[in-house]
Amino acid sequence: MTPGRRHLEPLKEWLIERFIWLCGVSAIFFVFAIFIFVFREGADYFFSGFKAGEFFTSIEWYPTSRTHVRYGALALITGTFSVSFLAMFLAVPFGLGAAVFISEFCPPRLKEGLKIVIELLAAIPSVVWGFIGLTIMNSLIVRLFNAPIGLNMFNGAIILALMSVPIIVSIGEDALKAVPDSYREAAVALGCTRWQMIFRVLLPAARNGLLAAVMLGIGRAVGETMAVLMATGHSIRIPHGVLEPVRTLTATIAAELGEAPVHSDHYQVLFIIGILLFTITFVINITADFIVRGIGRK
């Protein structure tokens, strides 16, 4: 290296550092910018006419009524939580189980095949899933459970579960693969069975990655719009059973935003719902973060 170029090294280093710093900071900036934009769209109403009490406790959602306008989102909030919860109840055990199978028990050939299939599944657009819910699942549920309508919470939850399982499996499998083989061998050398090794060593060692997999799955479930719009029946009420139709926050925004006059109260409330969704995912992620650190500290 010539002396001249060596002279430039600190400058080059500085430039690279700045550039990386910029990339990191811009990610934060964009998140804030989106938050502020969404909030600004709903801000007028939020500070003047918005009734938080009604929004959170009433199930009356009559945004377009002439005389009786109500913005009670309780049923929508319940809808989002119940569908997502049921979906995770189905998807997490399945997804983690499949991840363990693929990383620990699967013969190498089958493994490659399965991984390709799972990646394909992850790439199916949500409209297609919604269509499956609308047609196949719909008639299946009517026939199997004798339900009056096949478009309901159960249908939506299954579709969401099918959508999140591939994510949970592929991220979960990466997390398990990252556990060094020496852990497995050390545990087995102590005389424990494969199952004991998996439950006592492998899963605890991979816990952060597995939790991330689950969080991404939940994120997908809470944020998913199109598929639930098509599969859940889209009716505003508090469900009393899994076979009742529900409506979610996301589906409400998607269905109504196009028809709400810009800057009307209705329009602004829909943006407040957006903020609520934003907050929900934020809280979930922060909680997960605390869980991870809480376990990791010890």
Binding site: Y183, A186, A187, V188, A189, L190, Q196, K298
Partner: protein, 254 residues
Amino acid sequence: MVEQTPKIGVRELRLSYGQHEVLHGISFEILRNEIFGIIGPAQSGKTSLLRAINRTLEFTAGARYSGSITVDGEEVGKVRNVYELRRKIGMVAPLPVGLPLTIYDNVAFAPRMGGIRQKGSIDDIVERCLRQAALWDEVKDRLHTLGTRLSGGQQQRLTIARALSHQPEILCLDEFSIAIDPVTTMRIEEVLKELRQQMTIILVTNLVQQARRLADRTMFLFEGDIIELDRSEVIFSNSPAQQKTYDYVNGIFG
């Protein structure tokens, strides 16, 4: 002599990874309650041999062996309960593998798997094993912190404690003192001399002097063949049977 069956019998053992043969048909016996030293330069197949004995070799894809390995007269490849076989053998790997658990849980792992539930007895086992591994005094106040936060040498002693925790009949030490300072090594060596009352010890070591100090008999393994196996006094004397042994022991090799 009291030993009828040897603790471990190896006959015509050929071991290979894929096409690459690492042990070329070796035969020897390890007696009950002896310290059996194995010396030999890198790549001679020492670690592979230990992994074949406790059957962890089968986790490496493509690794195979032919010939026979018996523990207490029983063929290891055909034992009914491989977990029981592995519990008979305590294994200390050359690079410490602290399981991602607390110090206490690392040592309590095997006893718990073995079905011991009472906290009192597990406490006792943990303390005894950590003392034997010369680690107790350094960690007794932080038993519930992660084992992976210990220094390299401390982690190595933790794996020794762990290997002792299920009261093995055979203790395999694969270059256990690589990361341990000489003073602590000496303390552990003293413990090993006592432990041989209770168990058979296989000591794989690159420190020729360590084998001389501890081993009753020593085997010199070179590129997958046994060059010489004899009482340590002979191996480390001025006139072992093979010139190669003399050269290796005295560091004038190659």
